[in-house]
């Protein structure tokens, strides 16, 4: 069972959280002008990284707030969690194998 650190509440059990996929994908400011190609890419296409990846999580069964995390998808280890709008932490140098 993972222990996840909510930036607002501290460490809590994994079952309180929901993951919402890749973080730092900016919503296009000009949706009307996008081609189907660009819009589909924005909505559906993901990096799905094997290694370190930035993700959005929410503390559903807790404070209910959203935050970001840097996590290794091979070991499931959380490097860090941080509030929306805060600068993202650097990827550790072992390249996440």
């Amino acid at each position: 069972m993972l222990v996840i650190k909510c930036p607002f509440c501290g460490e809590r059990d994994q079952t309180e959280f929901t993951c919402h996929g890749e973080a730092h994908i900016a919503r296009p400011e000009n949706p009307d002008e996008l081609t189907d190609e660009q819009w589909g890419d924005y909505i559906f296409f993901r990096q799905n990284i094997k290694g370190y990846q930035y993700e959005r999580w929410s503390h559903d069964h807790g404070c209910g707030r959203w935050f970001n995390a840097l996590r290794n998808s091979v070991t499931d280890q959380f490097v860090d969690t941080y509030k929306i709008g805060e600068e993202k932490p650097a990827i550790p140098s072992d390249e996440g194998k």
Partner: protein, 414 residues
């Protein structure tokens, strides 16, 4: 290839079973192939088999980083059915079902295909509406399905507890559904493909692609460069990793999906039972073990493990539905990495790289499609154009919006 038969069994018994021919060779890779298949799961092996058998292309290699069937093929709960909602899905899953029905004869290998029937339980009004809608849609496509009352369910599965916390209100039955032996499917396709000249190369990891002017020319592997006129990538949970190597992204996320088996029992579960609402699915293997599948984790992971709470989530409903399981011991638990699309339908597609094709996105439910998937993918690679059954599953649908939304029929992992 020596044919397997009752006579060969007797003949080999005379020599204490010490002289069976190897099921397939293990050749060193050649310099170049007409087609290189990346990924030695059942879908990749089936692709190579149909390339050789139906498309006349035998200069083919399968490159597998581990061992044959060591991915999701050897980790799945082997539910086979073709009762999906949409026409496109009916076409591909029923194509597979028809091939399953003759597969052991076709491969001269007993894949232990067993059409013992598959029950889809309904526990609430929404479930009843869903099986109603899907059952009728399936009928219109000429695929068998029957609606059952709770009493009829009880007749088929006497040990079920209909009045559990979320009572069983009805069920959809596909009598032609059932299961098959996963390893045998991989080994049967491997043996038959090898016999037609396909090179099966295990312990050979693809680490990059040789792409020149947007055209694939070969693959970089742990055993050196291997040239290829065409490349078919069939790597399930690792498809995004392969796409990233080739310089594009896929509409996929990879999640761990778990299953477990119990200690062996005398025959007690007669069909394959699935319940989306309480979320559990189970069957009994020929060894007697109950094979029970869990849900997938909701975060990207390549850990091949899965979360503890997901196991907890299926043990509850299992005990509610089948109270006799409460003192059953579970023997093994494992996870596989499934490649999930948002519409819960697979991707069979050309890619931005010329002569490179992907077959992936089967997520939690691709074992049942193995023969059909390999068959239409082989024709797609051979012709350079997607087979008509495969065409709707192109990756392009995520740009055009023509999704094939099997959320309801496939949202339960199976």
């Amino acid at each position: 290839m020596n044919k397997y038969s009752v006579f060969s069994l007797v003949r080999n018994a005379m020599s204490y079973h010490e002289n069976w021919q190897k099921a397939w060779r293990s050749p060193d890779p050649k310099k170049e192939y007409d087609v290189v298949i990346v990924g030695g799961g059942a879908h990749g092996l089936a692709t190579a088999y149909y390339l050789a058998k139906e498309c006349g292309i035998t200069n083919v290699a399968i490159l597998e980083k581990g061992w044959l069937g060591g991915g999701n093929t050897g980790r799945n709960t082997t539910i086979v059915r073709s009762n999906y909602l949409w026409d496109e899905s009916s076409a591909i899953y029923e194509h597979a079902m028809k091939l399953w029905e003759n597969l052991s004869q076709d491969l001269n290998y007993n894949v232990m295909f067993s059409q013992r029937g598959l029950l889809h339980l309904a526990h609430n009004v929404h479930d009843m509406q869903e099986i109603g809608r899907r059952g009728h849609a399936i009928h219109l496509n000429g695929i068998d399905s029957e609606f059952l009352t709770p009493e009829q369910v009880k007749e088929i599965e006497p040990t079920i507890n209909l009045d559990c916390r979320y009572p069983v209100l009805g069920a959809l039955l596909q009598r032609r559904g059932g299961s098959a032996r996963h390893d045998a499917v991989a080994w049967g396709y491997a043996r038959a493909a090898d016999d037609m000249g396909v090179d099966i190369i295990q312990n050979c990891e693809v680490t990059g692609f040789d792409i020149q002017d947007g055209v694939v020319k070969g693959v970089e592997t742990s055993r050196g460069h291997i040239g290829a006129k065409k490349v078919g990538v069939v790597t399930a949970g690792h498809s995004s990793v392969m796409a990233n190597m080739a310089g594009f992204r896929m509409p996929l996320e990879s999640f761990p999906l778990q299953a477990m088996v119990s200690e062996p029992l005398k025959p007690v579960i007669n069909t394959v039972i699935m319940s989306g609402a309480v979320h559990v699915y189970l069957s009994q293997s020929d060894k007697g073990e109950l094979v029970v599948g869990a849900g997938s984790d909701n975060f990207v992971s390549y850990s091949q493990r899965g979360s503890f709470d997901m196991m907890d989530h299926i043990v509850g409903p299992l005990k509610e539905l089948f109270p006799f399981t409460s003192r059953l011991r579970m023997m093994r638990q494992w996870g596989g990495i499934v490649d999930v699309t948002v519409d819960r339908s697979p991707i069979i597609t050309k890619t931005p790289v010329e002569n490179m094709f992907f077959n992936c996105g089967w997520g939690t439910g691709g074992f049942k499609a193995t023969p059909g998937s390999g068959n239409v993918f082989a024709h797609s690679i051979a012709n350079g154009e997607l087979h008509p059954i495969a065409a709707p599953f192109t990756m392009n649908r995520f740009n055009t919006g023509a999704l094939i939304d099997e959320g309801a029929a496939a949202a339960v992992a199976h």
